[in-house]
Symmetry: C2
Subunit: 191 residues, 2 copies
DNA sequence: GCCGTCGGTCAACGGCCGTAGAATGACCAC
DNA sequence: GTGGTCATTCTACGGCCGTTGACCGACGGC
């Protein structure tokens, strides 16, 4: 009698609603940024009442925090060349999918101080890994520049929508960027 | 008798007030972005009433547009190497001064569609110049990537405030970026 | 010297937003 | 079956914001 799709249990229903709200929130935060996004709009997009969003997530800030939790993209260690290549692949991946979640973070990071803090914290491990793989005294600066390039390309493609960048294929982009990344990741040839 | 600083004429006073408002607006837009900036805050920072801001600029949008008018940084033509070097110098300059105006644009570009349009339009000539100097079929994409890197570095330094990047000297940054820029600006060596 | 012009202020309105809290009604443990 | 739990909604409040229009008072052309 208990058909699998018969009627969801209460817990299931709650999880379902939370998920719908989070999905809607991610989309709208990504489109509009933190400030222009309203709880009412998120609730309406999720087909629920604004009060429910408050009930589940406590506040707009907390909803935003939950919406923009990003599982850090693991970067395997290795030589500087390998890490550069891994970073390129990671960029390629982020250019290939529709980066809704990533966009919400990026867009809001630039207007919301808390978001910036969380983003910095979330990116720190990856940045450290990068730093450790680069065998120069200025490794930390080099790693930061690599990170800046990655973010710059993503921002320019999806936020500014520079047409050349928005239309190019991920492969083309990472191929052009490869020498760039290598020059930053590997020490200058000292003959 | 007409001491130069005796009493400003009416036109002078108006220009002075407009300038104070614009200066305050640029600073606050840069700090807070478009949405979080209120006309009242700008007016208060400029020592005038909010109504006056409306009176002079018509609306918040128009005030923003006037605040973020940026004289395009002229990029001299030349060989791809020369243009790459010129772009590096331009970046160095933007890293050296406190880039209030530039920041207001950048920060707001990422949340305000109109600002993005204007920014794209304002950057187009520079981008074209860059494209024409690069002697490859994919020159436009290369130029866009260069632009993305410039913006990425500025954003990461001033918006995200990645400490490594925020503390580094402009010279150090552009030295590290030089091979990067060259690899994008010049065609791959085809032996 | 008079009066229109104009820089500047003030108070107010309508709207939207985040948030709180009461109300409702279906589910589930006992 | 009964009572409580819980998902969900409804209504409302207080605040801030962009914008308006009336108002004031000093300047400057005539």
């Amino acid at each position: 009698m208990t058909e699998p799709s018969a009627r969801p249990t209460r817990a299931q229903q709650r999880r379902q609603s939370e998920e719908r709200i989070l999905t809607a929130a991610r989309r709208i935060f990504a489109e509009l940024g933190y400030d222009r996004t309203t709880i009412r709009a998120v609730a309406s997009a999720a087909g629920v009442d604004a009060g429910l969003v408050m009930h589940y997530f406590g506040s707009k800030d907390l909803l935003f925090a939950r919406s923009t939790e990003v599982p850090a993209d693991e970067l395997p260690g290795g030589t500087s060349d390998e890490v550069a290549e891994a970073l390129l692949r990671s960029l390629g991946r982020r250019l290939a999918d529709e980066p809704t979640a990533s966009l919400a973070v990026l867009r809001s990071t630039l207007t919301n101080a808390d978001a910036a803090d969380r983003y910095r914290a979330a990116g720190a491990p990856q940045l450290n890994q990068l730093t450790e793989a680069i065998p120069t005294p200025d490794a930390d600066l080099r790693a930061s520049l690599l990170s800046a390039i990655v973010h710059g390309v993503i921002a320019e493609r999806y936020l500014l929508r520079l047409t050349n960048l928005a239309d190019a294929s991920p492969e083309q982009i990472i191929d052009l960027l490869r020498p760039c990344f290598q020059s930053l990741a590997t020490p200058p040839p000292t003959p």
